[in-house]
């Protein structure tokens, strides 16, 4: 044949290549390809896991932020409530203290007034006693039987004059009524 083409040798070359292709496929190509595929699957699984973890982390972050916001709101509400309560309590204390103070002041004023009255009463009594004592003393010093007689006489005279005036007036009224 031209170019020394030999069917037998072509077949020998084919046989050689078939042996080589089969051997390389079994010994090298398939194991390496399987290893690559296995690793690829591992990476994909890991990637999926990472995506899942990232999603979970994102959800956790959102949940955390939501809870944080809730806590902040709650804390703010609590703070405001406590402030209000503190203010109310303080107001109550102040009002109570003021009322107590007013009561104390009122009581003190009442006590003072009462005391004043007592003092005044006591003073009046003492003054009266002093006046009586002074009068007694004065009378004791100035009263004589003649003077006492004169005083009685003057008193009877004045009393008689008064009785007469009253009788006159009654008589005039009776005459006026008869007319």
């Amino acid at each position: 044949m031209p170019l020394n083409i030999d069917i037998l040798q072509i077949l020998l070359h084919m046989l050689n290549f078939v042996i080589l292709a089969g051997g390389l496929t079994l010994l090298l190509f398939n194991p390496v390809r399987k290893f690559i595929e296995k690793r690829q699957k591992q990476f994909e699984a890991r990637e999926a896991e990472n995506r899942e973890n990232a999603q979970k982390n994102e959800n956790d972050r959102i949940e955390y932020e939501r809870k944080l916001a809730e806590f902040e709101n709650e804390a703010e509400e609590m703070r405001q409530r406590l402030e209000q309560e503190a203010a109310d309590t303080a107001k109550e204390y102040i009002d109570s203290a003021k009322a107590e103070a007013d009561a104390i002041i009122a009581k003190a004023e009442a006590d003072a007034e009462k005391r004043k009255e007592q003092i005044l009463d006591s003073a009046q009594t003492e003054i009266g006693e002093l006046v009586i004592s002074a009068a007694q003393k004065l009378l004791a010093d100035t009263a004589t039987p003649e003077r006492t007689q004169d005083l009685y006489d003057a008193f009877i005279e004045q009393a008689s004059a008064g009785a007469r005036k009253k009788a006159d007036r009654n008589g005039q009224q009776a005459q006026g009524g008869g007319k």
Partner: protein, 279 residues
């Protein structure tokens, strides 16, 4: 330093002078060498009772070495693979991923099968092309020492690769789309020939140039390093890439689901496009 360089230059000059004066002492002329490299009709090697070209021995040697290496890797390296790969593991994974990705990108069915096929074909073309760099010798039936060439520098090896690739594509078309799919593949009847002769021509040209260079002792210094790299390493990479890409492309086309309206639609599209161009 000067003495050292002078010594080297002197020795080189002596070697070249003696070589030119005496010749290589070979019985074969360059014409015979070239003819044998192209046709392989003289130096045959006995192989299990058959007389075969040296490329067959090269092919089985490469296969043996590759399978042995694969076995060692399977036993000692693969079980120790780590999630974060080392350098060697990264190279293996890159190779598998490269050919697997090439198939996945273009083929829609039986991707694992075609990935394994182009991985094996790529490994075979690459390492069998590099094989000629080692210059292993074998004894021919005429008791001559023959340098084992790259297996694909033999037309029979290249044809075997082209025919098998075509058979894979044809089979995929047949199983995927039935006889119509097979017919669609058969339209490209030149595919196995182009694949085979592309490989054969590329590798043979490199081999011939290398042989020309090695044949003359005056050219056997420094130049073979450059020529060897150019015509062997680059060929190995380029031809590996070309054949695997071609197989994956044609395979992808063959397994693509066959639509009845494809032809009509393509005609309609062509008509629309031509009208658009006229406008």
């Amino acid at each position: 330093m000067v003495v050292w360089i002078t010594l080297i230059v002197g020795l080189l000059a002596a070697v070249i002078a003696v070589g030119l004066a005496l010749g290589r002492g070979e019985s074969e002329s360059i014409r015979e060498v070239m003819r044998d490299l192209v046709l392989h009709d003289r130096n045959k090697i006995r192989f299990f009772g058959l007389q075969v070209n040296p490329a067959v021995i090269s092919a089985y040697t490469v296969t043996g070495v590759l399978l042995f290496a694969a076995l060692l890797i399977r036993i000692f390296a693969v079980p120790r693979f780590k999630t974060v790969p080392g350098k060697f593991q990264a190279v293996l994974e890159k190779a598998v991923d490269f050919f697997g990705g090439m198939a996945e990108e273009r083929a829609s069915r039986w991707v694992t099968f075609v990935s394994a096929y182009i991985f094996s074909a790529g490994a075979y073309i690459f390492f069998s092309t590099l094989f000629e760099l080692f210059g292993l010798q074998a004894i021919s039936t005429g008791n001559k020492s023959v340098t084992l060439p790259a297996p694909l520098a033999d037309i029979n090896g290249a044809l075997a690769m082209g025919i098998m690739s075509f058979a894979v594509i044809l089979g995929a078309g047949l199983f995927s789309n039935g006889p119509k799919g097979a017919l669609r593949v058969l339209k490209d009847f030149s595919l196995p020939i182009s694949m085979s002769f592309r490989l054969y021509g590329a590798l043979l040209s490199g081999l011939l140039v290398s042989e020309l260079v090695y044949h003359y002792i005056a050219l056997s210094f420094v130049l073979p390093v450059i020529v060897g790299v150019l015509f062997t390493l680059l060929h190995a990479i380029i031809q590996t890439y070309v054949l695997t890409v071609l197989v994956s492309i044609f395979y992808g086309e063959a397994v693509e689901p066959f639509k009845k309206s494809d032809k009509k639609r393509s005609k309609k599209n062509r008509k629309n496009e031509s009208e658009g161009v006229k406008e």
